[in-house]
Amino acid sequence: MMPQLTNMLSPWQWGLLAAVPPAIIALYFLKLKREPLEVPSTYLWHKSIEDLHVNSIWQRLRRSLLLLLQLLLIALLIMVLLKPSLKGTAFNQNRLIFLIDNSASMGATDVQPTRLDEAKRRVHELIDQMGSSDVAMLVSFSDSARVEQMFTDNRGELRRRLDAIKPTDKPTAISEALRVASVLANPGRSATDMRTDTAVAEAQPAEMFFFSDGNFVDDPDFSLGNLSVAQPVWIGTQDPRNVAIAAFSTARSETNADKLQAFGRIENSGLTDASLDVELLLNGEMIDAENVSIPAGKSRGVKFDLEQVATGVLELRLIVDDHLAVDNHAWAVVHTPRKGRVLLVTPGNEPLQMALRTERAVETADVMLKSPDFLSTPEYRAQSAAAAWDLIIYDRCRPEAMPQANTIFIGALPAGELWSELEKVTVPGIIDVNRAHPLMQWIDMSDVLVIEAKPLVAPAGSTPLVEATEGPLLAVGPREGFEDVVLGFELIGADKIGTNWPVRPSFPVFVLNALSYLGGNRESQAAGTVQPGRPVASRPDSEAEQLQIVPPHDGEPVDVARGKHGVFHFAGTGQVGIYEVLEGSKEVDHFAVNLFDPRESAIHIKPERALKIGHVETESRSEWHEARRDTWKWLLLGALAILVFEWYIYNRRAYL
């Protein structure tokens, strides 16, 4: 195969080279231009010049200077022949994708100033090493990915965009970053910026560089396609200190609704034991504190009993000097306990009505009792559409359309085609109860007998709560922000008893669970423990069509319009802290955004951590893959410069 000549120089470099011969020729002509002048005698001139030669240190060095220059020139030429190179990073491709993790854990300060800054510094280094034909793309990722800069060879732009990447408090998910990267590297995609990348529609291989601390779950299902992954260098140290609040919630006392309990779980993810003060603040004022000692790698719970707390914002604060600050605070919003509004539509169901009349049930919810005829009245239609009830229980009847409320269907199917049922079975054997679900807490179904039932075919995304041999008998399914619970058998039939469940102790417990879980009580008590970056659905008791949400740390208020089903959706939860919901200037609600991510809080780097994407497993290294970066071009340029300088010295010898 014939060797191909490769253009290794950019146009300006060619230009510089092309300028060298004219420069030498110009010097040559300059040399010729020395005009002869006849003088009576050169006696004095010669003497003067010799004197100058003797006196000039330059002249004294002139001969040796020329010699030195010649030696240097030869040395450089020899070095050029040796093809020297600098230690640099290997770019296997000339299309580079820099994936920069700006999740919460990258704010750790075990690497000064922060891990994110260190990542940026390393990207800067790589940008510096980019060749003239290399193009690079910048992607920042946390739980979502963001293309900071499309493929470009404009290094200044890359650096500027790189510097603009800001830390977030969000957890890390790598999948979206990978998808974004693959969009431009794999076939069938097109660039959005045609000016800077005209050829991107053709699939071109690209190399991904991860700048992360590895605090994410690998994506083994991702297909790399044309992408290749450089060996990652995890940013961070192996023994940082971090104590984190892993959970923080409040609960009303079981015996006294005025009493509030705050529970926190504090994890020490560092390698040394920690002893620290935990402070609890209510609306910014400290109301309690506790000193806890947590061994390395362990977690401890803290519990605070609070009296007479009706509403407000609780903050749990760790007084500790560790490397990650974002998880040292947690917030919880305490709402006034509100009774659920429940509508029971039944032709008559004494056991159910009895269960709804228990002391706790009455405390939890206001129940309105209606007969199935009510479903066809305009009043029902208006109120169900306006979300007047938190929970509607349909006993052996079904509405024409699903209401804006949680529902429980007993012996009937919800409206629409989503739910269906199988053939009637007799005495189905109950084989499993999903006790992990809040609805089924403390429920024991072992003594329950069902005479006849129609096993359910629940829609996708639903959870079976009670399963029999033939299929689920009780299931809960989501619907546009609400949940539908469907019971596949009748509690009491029209003419006969269908099951013995109503006389078992588990039945009133289930009803109570249903009132708490579906009746709105849960939402109002534990509202707002969302993770950063997750959307918040707020249903304040407000009639306004537009609310303002003020992010923490005096952020810019954001206007949020009422969405479908009367819910206000807000996605700008990038920072941890308390978000205020304002109607005009009136505070109507709060919600808290907390990190609560053990993975983000466990900030120590595991050196053996490999990166597994698709079927490719890339081992981490302590440094980037080294490569020879040819420097002979620069040496040759230097040799040329020395040659020119030597020529100059030689011609100025009379002067020097």
Binding site: R34, P36, E38, V39, T42, S48, Y655
Partner: protein, 296 residues
């Protein structure tokens, strides 16, 4: 170079020179009676001294009046007047052919002026160039009538002689062994130096005057840029780039050169005069040389 258009002697200068005469700090014996006093007592009208008669003395010079009064014989001695040998030695090398007017023109004018003074005072005047071979003595002039012959000879002095300074002076000394005043007009630009040449002159019992003439362009060089200086005599090339430090150094060397020659001459009883070729000759003769005692 063609014969100089510059008149060697202007009428004004001649009028000025009429009143001057060459002076030597030493008194030399001339070959014929001249217009100056000799050390020797001789036959002139000016009485000098008496001395006792010894047998063989010319009886005509016995002072008979003294013999009558003292009864002893005394001889009357009279001052004897004699002429002066004036030599002018011109450096006619190629390097003298520079300047405005050229150094050679200046040398010819000066030689003409000094020679004229000598001639009108009946001194023996001889003008030679350094390139004149040893075995070829030049013409000698005496008397006002010879002025035009001398000037004619001077007109024919051409630059381009190649003899070195020391060789020329050596030849001169071989040709002219007598005493007298010798005036050397040269730029002394000889790469072998002037030391040896001057030693020949001091070895002769002569009264040497060195008139060191340099052109304006040598004293105040006005050159710019990168130049290749070519020596007019040996073609030697020196490449220079005009610069402040170089001019400074050149000045220093020039001063050292002139000062060195001056000191050399002073130590050996030679008179040294520095002149620029642009200086008017009359000014030099009537002012400078008078002050220095060559003429009065």
């Amino acid at each position: 170079m063609a014969t100089s258009e510059i008149p060697l002697l202007t009428p004004d200068l001649l009028a000025q020179l009429e009143r001057l005469e060459l002076v030597s700090r030493k008194i030399f014996r001339g070959r014929i009676k001249g217009e100056r006093r000799s050390l020797r007592k001789g036959q002139s009208v000016e009485f000098a001294d008496f001395r006792s008669y010894v047998p063989g003395d010319d009886l005509r010079f016995v002072d008979w009046n003294t013999y009558a009064r003292l009864d002893r014989l005394f001889l009357k001695l009279f001052m004897e007047e004699e002429d002066l040998h004036f030599y002018c030695l011109i450096d006619a090398s190629e390097s003298m052919n520079f300047g405005t007017p050229t150094k050679l023109d200046f040398a010819r004018q000066l030689a003409a002026a000094l020679g004229f003074i000598g001639l009108i005072r009946s001194d023996r005047v001889k003008i030679e160039t350094l390139g004149q071979p040893a075995g070829q003595p030049g013409a000698t002039w005496r008397g006002r009538a010879s002025v035009w012959r001398m000037l004619d000879h001077l007109q024919n002095v051409q630059p381009g002689e190649t003899a070195s300074l020391s060789q020329g002076i050596k030849n001169f000394c071989l040709r002219n062994s007598g005493r007298g005043i010798v005036v050397l007009i040269s730029d002394l630009m000889d790469k072998q130096g002037y030391d040896e040449a001057f030693r020949y002159l001091t070895a002769q019992r002569m009264d040497p005057y060195i008139i060191h003439v340099l052109s304006e362009e040598e004293v105040e060089p006005d050159i710019k840029g990168d130049l290749k200086l070519v020596d007019s005599e040996d073609g030697d090339v020196t490449e220079i780039t005009a610069s402040g430090p170089l001019f400074k150094r050149y000045k220093q060397n020039l001063n050292a050169f002139v000062g060195g020659a001056q000191e050399f001459c002073a130590r050996r009883g030679m008179s040294y005069l520095f002149a620029r070729s642009s200086q008017p000759v009359d000014q030099l003769v009537s002012g400078y040389l008078r002050k220095r005692g060559l003429i009065k």
